[in-house]
Amino acid sequence: MNAAKVQKKPKTTSKLKQMRSDWQLYVLLSFGLIWLILFAYKPLMGLRIAFYDFNPFGGLAKSRYVGFENFQRYFSSPDFARTVKNTVMLALWQLGLIFPASIILALVVTQMTSRGISKATQTITFLPYFISAVVVAGMVLSFTSPNNGWINIIRRSFGLEPIYFMVQAKYFRPIYTLMLLWMQAGYNSLVYIAAIMGIDTSLYEAATVDGANKLQRIIHVTLPGILPTIMTMLLLNIGKMIRSGYETIILLYHPSTYEAADTIATYAYRLAFDNPGRADYGLSTAVGLVEAVVAFIMVALANYMSRRVTESSLW
């Protein structure tokens, strides 16, 4: 024990010494650190609201502590099953459509022979990333409008009845997913394009010598080459998709499409901010906390698995 003490002492003093000589680094660190504490960690204290029948005007001091009552209310309400199902379904739609489309887009633009078309395709598909969700949602609403929307104008010219797409629940998931596809495919493909560019070209030459044609080279060289990237993005996206998009969904959904569009996050939003006269801060915070915990577990799990499977993680 004595020996340990003797050993420990110089170590701490040298650390202090190091910190003192690095004081300028701590000054640089302090701005961001103070910001983090004020705007990322202090709000965590507000999660206590989830355990109160919260009175927004009196604050926690004038609110009644209710334990897990808000959580119980959420779990036992019919909204619970609906919001969980919609959250999972929208994540699956994205996983099934946007995820593979981004990889295919990367393959197309890297394997095509025309340099000009390849560049143009990359530039054009990346362009929607710069357009705000509000404007894109406005485009969707306008194009699908039953009276003078572009899609219904075309339908009418074929003699078909116009459809009011945005008030029918069955159209919500396809329309929302297609909109995200348009917005994100080009941006998402960048990471795969970078991975494809990083593949050792001698592998392609060897495959050519072995008589592989282009499609075979794509299947046997390119795809295995970017598999680690695909795995990492897949696992990380699963977690991210859970909590994605409430800002975008609330632009598009409608009471008549809630059955397909209302996710855990949009539900939490509506309880607090779009519930005139009956805003329920306690329940909203509880619902938000459930979502955050689920998303946290998914992301942590995905990151852990990604590290095990591909021996790499994004952080």
Binding site: F31, P43, L47, V108, T125, Y129, F130, M139, K214, A272
Partner: protein
């Protein structure tokens, strides 16, 4: 380097091209063209419809080009009250806000990129944790209320100072600059402040540009928190006004307005004109930004 590799790849495949491969290449090029057309058409349609007379738009004759040219939709769009105020606010939030982002992000990223920093692991974990977990809507909103920042410009400028993802890109880039440069500067008597400002920042231009662009796009396009935290019209950024005009009104519109051959604009063509007005600034800077995003994606993939 990447383009060089691609070139070699193409030459390699060009040497022996069977008939089947020629067809395959043609199909790939064709798919590229189709993807481009499908992606760009909605934007192109908005542009031509906004400059056509509403009757032609409704009749469905506006498909490939402007029919019955008129700029009245733009005149009407630009007369919308608060449009210029909102536009100005967006520029203000974008410029001042991004400057604030870059200050918080680069200073903290530099400190965290120094391996000798005592407590480095803990501080980095504090950043990473914010990517994984956030307090949610109400706690965040109540925090702004407690700090007396509701309905202030400061809430928008300061409240969204750091994105963990961007900070990590920046930190990784700072780490990739050889430490010997710092040691040499220390020997010459330079302070950490000086090394950061005079050596590290000037050497990090590509990463600085990338991260600036990430922040800029978010600042320009974000609507949710300004809508939630601000009340007064004179503080609202463009996207919040756009939400009112494009989303809330379109959803409620009965569209009973009668459109005749004489109409030079309609609520619909005005909406298209507004979209063009809202999109244009980003599209003008886009060609200059595109190349930086690629470096950013690669830099972000570098392990921490």
């Amino acid at each position: 380097m990447a383009t060089k590799k691609a070139k070699i790849k193409r030459q390699g495949s060009a040497t022996v091209r069977s008939r089947g491969e020629k067809v395959f290449d043609f199909v790939l090029n064709l798919i590229g063209v189709l993807i481009s057309l499908v992606t760009v058409y909605p934007l192109y349609y908005i542009l031509i419809a906004s400059m056509s007379k509403p009757l032609s738009v409704i009749n469905g004759t506006v498909i490939t080009h402007i029919v019955d040219f008129s700029l009245d939709a733009y005149k009407e769009a630009l007369r919308i009250p608060n449009l210029w105020v909102a536009y100005g606010n967006t520029f203000y939030y974008a410029i001042v806000g991004v400057a604030m982002n870059m200050f918080f992000t680069t200073t903290m990223a530099y400190a965290l990129s120094r391996k000798r920093l005592v407590g480095r692991k803990l501080f980095t974990l504090m950043i990473v944790f914010t990517m994984w977990f956030n307090a949610g809507l109400i706690p965040t909103y109540m925090n702004f209320r407690d700090l007396r920042l509701l309905d202030t410009r400061a809430a928008i400028i300061v409240g969204f100072g750091i994105s963990a993802y961007n900070l990590i890109i920046m930190k990784n880039f700072f780490q990739s600059i050889p430490e010997e440069m710092e040691e040499a500067a220390h020997v010459d008597g330079a302070s950490d402040f000086r090394i950061f400002f005079r050596i590290w920042l000037p050497m990090s231009k590509p990463a600085l540009a990338t991260v600036t662009m990430f922040y800029l796009v978010n600042r320009w396009n974000g609507y949710f928190w300004p809508m939630t935290l601000l009340r007064q019209d004179k503080l609202m950024p463009l996207q919040v006004l756009m939400k009112k005009l494009l989303v809330d009104q379109t959803a409620n519109e009965t569209e009973a307005q009668i459109i005749t051959a004489a109409s030079t604009w309609s609520p619909q063509t005005r909406i298209y004109a507004l979209m063009v007005v809202a999109i244009i600034p980003m599209l003008l800077v886009y060609p200059f930004l595109q190349k930086y995003f690629k470096t950013g994606m690669t830099a972000g993939a570098v392990k921490g």
